[in-house]
Amino acid sequence: MIEAILNILVGLLLLAGALFSLAASIGLLRLPDIYSRMHSASKAGTVGSGLTLIAMAIHSGDLGDATRALAGVVFFLLTAPISAHLLAKAAHDMGYPLWSKSLGDEKRAKDTDGESDQLY
């Protein structure tokens, strides 16, 4: 009985993880510029891989494997935002423009002493 419930739970987690990963990749394709794409990769991607790893931790039934899988989740949570941040920062430093329909860029406004692109 408990095994059946666990199996269903594992299946649901895997399915949810896969769907989030799919949404993350669709987001990478559809969103307009690199900054918006990083949103999709960092959030939906992290949750997708995290859910898959948690499913693995439950399914393994072995404490050593489970802790390793959960450590993987923690490392995802620590590294995904840093890589997204660094990509966005590098792109911005190189002057990669925001999407043309963006509302504004307060950082560039400050860097150029408010000559252009002032928001609000």
Binding site: K43, P81, L98, G104
Partner: protein, 157 residues
């Protein structure tokens, strides 16, 4: 003595006495140690330590909830046929000061709904945040301050 260190030493002592240094036993020892320290909270002044543990715990829970919510929002957004985004970069004035707190806040901002930390100013007073929906930056600023910055300050002051 440093209370965190004491808790870790108690966990190690527990593992040594029971003769098993597995992760589960160490965690169990840590919980037992925390319980013992809670019993003598008046004598060693460890009440503040528990308040901090509790605050770090709630911070983690709030963060996980926001992360799930955030992934859901992004997934729903990219799957709608009409892609309705109004992105932009806004400045967020930082109140937290230490590097560790700023890093934590920047990471949390990146993993929560519609926001992504892009850069920090030279003097560490401003964080630039990219938002998928930048139509109301003031509300987003207040959300960040209320949800995370205040809690981070409480947990790590």
């Amino acid at each position: 003595m440093n209370l965190q260190l004491m808790n870790i030493l108690l966990a190690l002592a527990w593992a040594a006495v029971t003769g098993s240094f597995t992760l589960a036993n160490l965690i169990f020892g840590f919980v037992l140690g925390a319980l013992v320290m809670y019993f003598i909270r008046e004598q060693v002044g460890s009440l503040g330590y528990f308040r901090r543990l509790w605050r770090i715990g709630t911070l983690m829970l709030v963060f996980l909830r926001e992360l799930l919510f955030s992934a859901w929002r992004v997934a729903a957004l990219v799957l709608t046929p009409r892609l309705d985004v109004q992105p932009g970069i806004f400045a967020y004035p930082l109140r937290v000061r230490s590097d560790m707190q700023i890093t934590l806040l920047a990471n949390m901002i990146t993993l929560t709904p519609g926001t992504l930390s892009v850069d920090i100013s030279e003097d560490h007073s401003t964080l630039w945040v990219h938002a998928l929906d930048c139509s109301d930056p003031e509300a987003t600023r207040q959300d960040i301050a209320r949800m995370f910055e205040r809690r981070i300050m409480e947990a790590f002051e």
